[in-house]
């Protein structure tokens, strides 16, 4: 009995610094931010309770509403294209092509760059007076147009392009690892049965890749919620407010606009959104399986 207690106490003691850090640095700051969103803090944090005033202002602000819509649209397109493109790249490389190592490096390389660099490079390329449009036009195709970054209705898609370029390689790497884990026997059996290759991929390999897909979606979702630097470098939220995103809203009000209360309210909304999305998934992934396994 005593040994058992001692044994179970050891990990708790060993982990106590970690637990303290988690409590203070993560849960504590989260709680503090939520509290701030109910105060009238402006330049400095103060403790005057103002109820839901900041939230009313937040949801009455057209820029915030545009930001949330943009995040949703960006999220769907970005995750969707990354998954499809990443999977196709992985399948292509998995065909034992020559120069596989080189190709893998090239596709994964964009992910090693910061979003700021990606944003700047794509901004130059898509700028109608400097980049691709100018180059093609000067080669003689005068009616060629590729000016998405400066068009209100298309600028967000320009952000998606740059984002997909950056992150599709990561998905490819994950998927490739999954593909390499598929049993060779399975392929042989399918071949013997005369099943077409695409059918094997769709019906057998894809279900086997589920853990890789989930990992990719989680990683990409995190990138979506925190998308800030890419937008700042590429469009800075413009033209107008057409590529505004929530993270930029938070940063602007926190620093430049000196309204900590409003920034905290916006962060809290983001936090709640993430929890709402994650909670059912965590439940489905971990808790139900445990019960089923037992």
């Amino acid at each position: 009995m005593a040994t058992r207690i001692r044994r179970s106490a050891v990990p708790v003691v060993a982990l106590s610094p970690t637990i303290l850090i988690v409590l203070f640095a993560y849960v504590g700051t989260m709680g503090w931010t939520v509290w701030m969103s109910f105060t009238g803090s402006r330049l400095l944090p103060v403790n005057t309770f103002v109820g839901t005033e900041q939230y009313q202002r937040l949801f009455g602000d057209p820029r915030w509403l545009v930001s949330v819509q943009n995040m949703a649209l960006f999220g769907v397109l970005f995750i969707g294209f990354c998954l499809v493109l990443g999977f196709l790249l992985a399948v292509a490389i998995d065909q034992r092509v020559r120069g596989e190592d080189g190709l893998r490096t090239i596709f994964l390389y964009p992910h090693a760059m910061s979003f700021i660099v990606t944003g700047l490079v794509w901004q130059w390329m898509m700028n109608p007076t400097l980049g691709i449009q100018e180059a093609v036009q000067s080669m003689g195709w005068a009616s060629f147009r590729f000016d998405w970054v400066v068009r209100r209705d298309m600028a967000l898609y320009a952000v998606v392009i740059a984002g997909v370029w950056q992150s599709a390689g990561l998905v490819m790497a994950l998927m490739l690892a999954g593909l390499r884990g598929v049993d060779e026997e399975l392929w042989k059996a399918a071949r013997v049965d005369g099943i077409p290759t695409w059918r094997v991929y769709v019906s057998i390999v894809l279900p086997l890749l589920k853990p890789m897909i989930i990992t990719s979606v989680v990683l990409l979702s995190i990138a979506v919620v925190k998308v800030y630097d890419l937008v700042v470098a590429l469009t800075n939220g413009g033209p107008g407010t057409s590529t505004a995103v929530p993270a930029k809203y938070v940063m602007d009000y926190l620093f430049e606009r000196q309204n900590i209360g409003l920034a905290a309210a916006a962060s809290t909304v983001l936090l709640v959104t993430v929890l709402c999305v994650l909670a059912p998934w965590i439940y489905a992934e971990y808790f139900r399986k445990e019960r089923g396994g037992a």
Partner: protein
């Protein structure tokens, strides 16, 4: 060795004749700006102090760092802010030193324009040292480009302005070098509001937050004029930095730029003399000088040598000779109206001349509303400008709701 240095430090710490050490936080890092800071630093060292430079690139980063240090209990001797209401909360929380003794001794109230005095003080006491006045409603042009397009002088009315823009367009240059960032668009809007709408409308909108004035026909006419500028900008405008737009004017790719007088620094760096190759005129219409600028605030540090260092610094910053030397480098005009500006460039002299008359001293939007509201206005203005189908009426309604919420 390290022992010797240590004991040396202890000794010098103990001696009473320690030089007055001032750690100054600011965001002046570009060429002309850094040269300006050097003027202050040299003047302070000459006056017997030690200047410790704490430059942080970018206004908002520098302000955030300063506020963190003030709140964290390790404040710098002095820190830069823009003239206006950015440091309201610091005064409200009692974190800043009241500079009234120095101000009274040096008679700041007599030599500094009233709106700047007001912006630097709260409840009748000085809490900041204003160091310069920037004009926000300048129009810069390349005289050579103007001649080629057949324009003899800067337009004085908005009708003439658009006629000239058409001439520039016909000559094959982009008429307006447009910086497509929200703050720049808001700056141009304010210049048009003052020029076309006039002083009274400007005050009614920003100072009185008068809803009827914002929804009035006069305001909507200003909005339409502002929106009309869309026809004279190029496709690469969205997101463009102000200095990239300035270089378009310098190289003759574009006709004019509406920008604050800090753009002058880039003209000078490119070898153009303000008033000659680099033409300058106020935005057409009402002749007022839309004023902005910088101030230094002094956080409470706890008396003794630190306070002495702060007093000395405050005096140095407003010393007449230092004021001229600093503002020549910085591109702005002295905050004191009693100094001799004859050594400055033609545009600065013009500005200083205007500011002598209180009727022309128009405080910019930063003097009237908080940084928060300034930001919300920028969102409204940039959305309106970048939407080809937006109407002046809707814009006026959005603008009014931001201003009434800020009452």
């Amino acid at each position: 060795m390290s022992c010797a240095i240590l004991s040396g430090a202890v000794l010098s710490g103990a001696s009473a004749q320690e030089p007055l050490r001032a750690e100054v936080m600011h965001w002046w890092t570009s060429g002309g700006e850094a040269a300006g800071v050097r003027v202050f630093a040299d003047a302070y060292e000459k006056a017997g102090g030690t200047w410790v430079d704490a430059a942080i690139g970018g206004g908002q980063n520098a302000r955030a760092a300063a506020i963190n240090r003030i709140v964290g209990g390790n404040p710098p001797t002095s820190s830069q802010f823009n003239t206006g209401r950015q440091f309201d909360d610091l005064v409200g929380q009692g974190l800043l030193v009241d500079l009234d003794a120095v101000a009274a001794e040096q008679k700041w109230r007599d030599v500094i324009p009233a709106p700047i005095v007001q912006a630097a003080s709260r409840e009748g006491k000085f809490y900041a040292v204003p160091v310069n006045i920037h004009g926000h409603n300048w129009m810069f042009y390349n005289t050579e480009t103007f001649q080629k397009a057949g324009i003899s002088e800067a337009p004085k009315t908005f009708d003439a302005f658009f006629a000239d823009m058409d001439k520039l367009k016909a000559a094959g240059v982009t008429p307006i070098a447009w910086g497509g960032q929200p703050w720049q668009e808001a700056l141009v809007f304010d210049a048009v509001l003052l020029g076309q709408g006039g002083k009274d409308l400007f005050y009614k909108v920003y100072r009185d937050k008068d809803e009827a004035a914002i929804k009035s026909e006069a305001f909507q006419r200003v909005a339409a004029t502002f929106h009309r500028m869309r026809d004279y900008i190029d496709a690469g405008a969205p997101g463009r930095n102000w200095n990239d737009a300035t270089s378009m004017v310098i190289t003759g790719q574009a006709g004019i730029q509406i920008m604050g007088d800090w753009a002058k620094g880039d003209f000078i760096a490119a070898g153009k003399t303000p008033g000659k190759e680099a033409g300058c005129a106020l935005v057409p219409g009402e002749a007022g000088y839309l004023m902005g600028g910088d101030v230094f605030v002094f956080p409470k540090i706890g008396g003794g040598a630190a306070t002495e260092a702060q007093t000395l610094l405050a005096k140095t910053l407003l010393d007449p000779a230092t004021q001229i030397a600093f503002n020549e480098k910085k591109g702005s005009i002295p905050v004191r109206t009693d100094v001799d500006v004859s050594s400055m460039d033609a545009c600065a002299r013009r500005g200083a001349e205007l500011v002598k008359d209180p009727a022309n001293q128009i405080p910019s939007v930063n003097f009237h509303v908080s940084a928060d509201t300034v930001g919300a206005l920028q969102d409204t203005i940039t959305s309106y400008f970048n939407d080809p189908s937006a109407t002046a009426e809707d814009f006026a309604a959005d603008f009014a709701s931001v201003m009434t919420a800020a009452r």
